[in-house]
Point group: C2
Chain length 334, copies 2
DNA sequence: GCAGCAGAAGTAAGCGCTTACCTGTATAAA
DNA sequence: TTTATACAGGTAAGCGCTTACTTCTGCTGC
């Protein structure tokens, strides 16, 4: 029913080796034969089987993308970029939303191995450097958005430190002194870097950021809101908060409104990521923009390099962030 | 380097057929042997090659999902659901953002065929019923969110008609009479159904919806905003608008604010989809909710049924929508 | 006029599995 | 004891490709 290389060969009166060669542009084939064969492939709507060719030890032209959640706009955007760049280069990409759960990660990894994907892009928290090394021993891996200290894996990250710093400087320039930070788990390097940059700018300005001012949240709107509600209730509430992603920022914004605080007159909010959410709230969010498209595309490029080349130059790409000033930040109006 | 079925067989002192049988739970194998073999697979970290088994004429355990854009929250949500259900059933899913461009659709389809995916879920506009039939001739297809009149393909849709009707009834109950509709291309059935439901409710109430009140937009915030700006400028502007998705609704909301109109006091907005965007705007949007998770999961179920069974019962699933009332709708305040 | 060679094509051995079919053995039926 | 029979397992033929190697022509160059 479906044409195979044999059908093409028979129809063209040549051997399957010849057909294979014209498909892959290898070996010496006369221009004449090449045309004939191509014409027949066209006529029979022949689609070479990636499956079969993969079995011969080559590539499957498939890569896996592990991320926490596809329905999170940040990751959706990155995923879109990975997909685009991948397809552009002839690769399919298999998406895996892990919810950051070890069990799911295990399952997906196993599935991807069975599918013999050519490599994996990890944008999700995976256990130890140890595990990662083991994984990388099995197949090429590129890590997005996180440094894995001792793993020496190719990585693409945003300039988290610089982003944190820029956020602080912006807020300082507006006269803010009492600030809070809403962070996801500080176990991941990107969060720590954002915090480090933020704190450094504050200290350089001669102020301090106490540990109490750091709130750890789940990566969800409602958790941001819940925790912000508590924080904003106090009389020594901050005049500005820096959120480590848009979801948290939305939560904080909602809490502020519920508490009757006007943004930015009484509370300034700086977010991180700059997904579509930042444009849609009211006021729209000042945010440290991550180059999501760039991140995704770079990860693919790195991965394919890894897949293709022997010399394994473990690259680490850091992409610049950019502070996008919108209306959620301003001077305090007494 | 990577263990194969031969390695397992050798190690266990059995034939590869036996190993294959224990892997797939077929044939008669003594409990004892089974355990032995399993233990060895465990020890050698054996991962059977889906590639190889696919070649034997079975499944690749991969399905393709074609959608317009992964970074659109609506589709991201559906994609997440498809992915979840798919993985749950042992399938990988390959995402393809088509931007609704024929050229991209073609490329993806060809890629998916070469990858020999077991089936395809189509959530994107594809040309004619003709093309679809041809595609379905090549492999199982399930269509999401659209009826394809003469194709007789398994389909999962939301109750668009009911959603449109509910939107109108809500607005009518609030006293609105001059209403506009912001729609994506009316060439797709779901848009037409929403419109039909909306119009029907209006007519049943004894009013009419003129063609001038129907604005066709691209599926983007800025296009919604641009067109809304023009519409809201007139003195005979509507008091309520019904948008066919959240992106358009956000655009309309932004335009309203720019025009100095307060929502809902001077303009009510009902959206469709109920993605995260609807919760995040200010005011949050009253919206006809689509059961995105349910849609995605059902599509997978339908597809796997299609893949597995001979008798081909072409199902058509219509899932209920639900009006979620938030603060973007209300009575006109003179 | 012939060795040497490059160009063009074919041969056949796998890649890692599944499966139809065959074999050998212990048990039940005759 | 002989024969049928279910069990447990093995044999080997592919699935649709790639590729190292071989073969056959027709030229070059001396």
């Amino acid at each position: 029913m479906k044409a195979t290389i044999y059908d093409i060969a028979r129809e063209a009166g040549v051997s399957i080796a010849t057909v294979s060669k014209v498909i892959n542009g290898k070996g010496k084939i006369s221009e004449e034969r090449r045309r004939e064969v191509m014409a027949i492939m066209e006529r029979l709507q022949y689609q070479p089987s990636v499956i079969a060719s993969a079995l011969t030890g080559k590539h499957t032209y498939t890569i896996g993308l592990l991320l926490p959640d596809l329905s999170n706009p940040f990751f959706a955007e990155v995923a879109r970029a990975v997909e685009d760049r991948g397809h552009q280069l002839g690769y399919s990409v298999v998406m895996c939303s892990t919810d950051n759960k070890d069990e799911r990660i295990e399952r997906y990894l196993s599935l991807l191995k069975q599918q013999r994907v050519d490599g994996i892009i990890l944008a999700t928290g995976i256990g130890s450097a140890e595990q990662l090394k083991k994984l990388n021993h099995a197949m090429p891996v590129v890590v997005i958005g996180r440094e894995v200290p001792e793993s020496n894996l190719p990585t693409v990250v945003a300039d988290d430190w610089g982003g944190g710093k820029a956020a602080a400087e912006h807020l300082l320039a507006l006269g803010h002194r009492r600030m809070a930070v809403f962070a996801e788990r500080l176990s991941i390097t990107s969060s720590r870097e954002r915090l480090r940059g933020f704190r450094q700018a504050i200290e350089e300005a001669g102020f301090t950021l106490t540990d109490e001012a750091i709130v750890i949240c789940d990566d969800r709107i409602d958790d941001g809101r819940r925790q912000a509600s508590a924080l904003l209730r106090g009389s020594d509430r901050p005049t500005a908060v820096f959120c480590f992603n848009d979801l948290l920022a939305v939560g904080v914004l909602q809490a502020a409104k519920e508490a009757g605080l006007s943004v930015p007159a009484q509370l300034s909010i700086v977010s991180f990521d700059n997904t579509i959410l930042a444009e849609v709230t009211d006021p729209p969010l000042t945010a440290v923009a991550q180059p999501m498209t760039h991140i995704g595309a770079s990860a693919v490029d790195l991965l394919l390099e890894e897949i293709g080349s022997k010399p394994k130059i473990k690259a680490r790409i850091a992409l610049p962030t950019e502070l996008v000033i919108r209306r959620s930040t301003g001077r305090i109006v007494e």
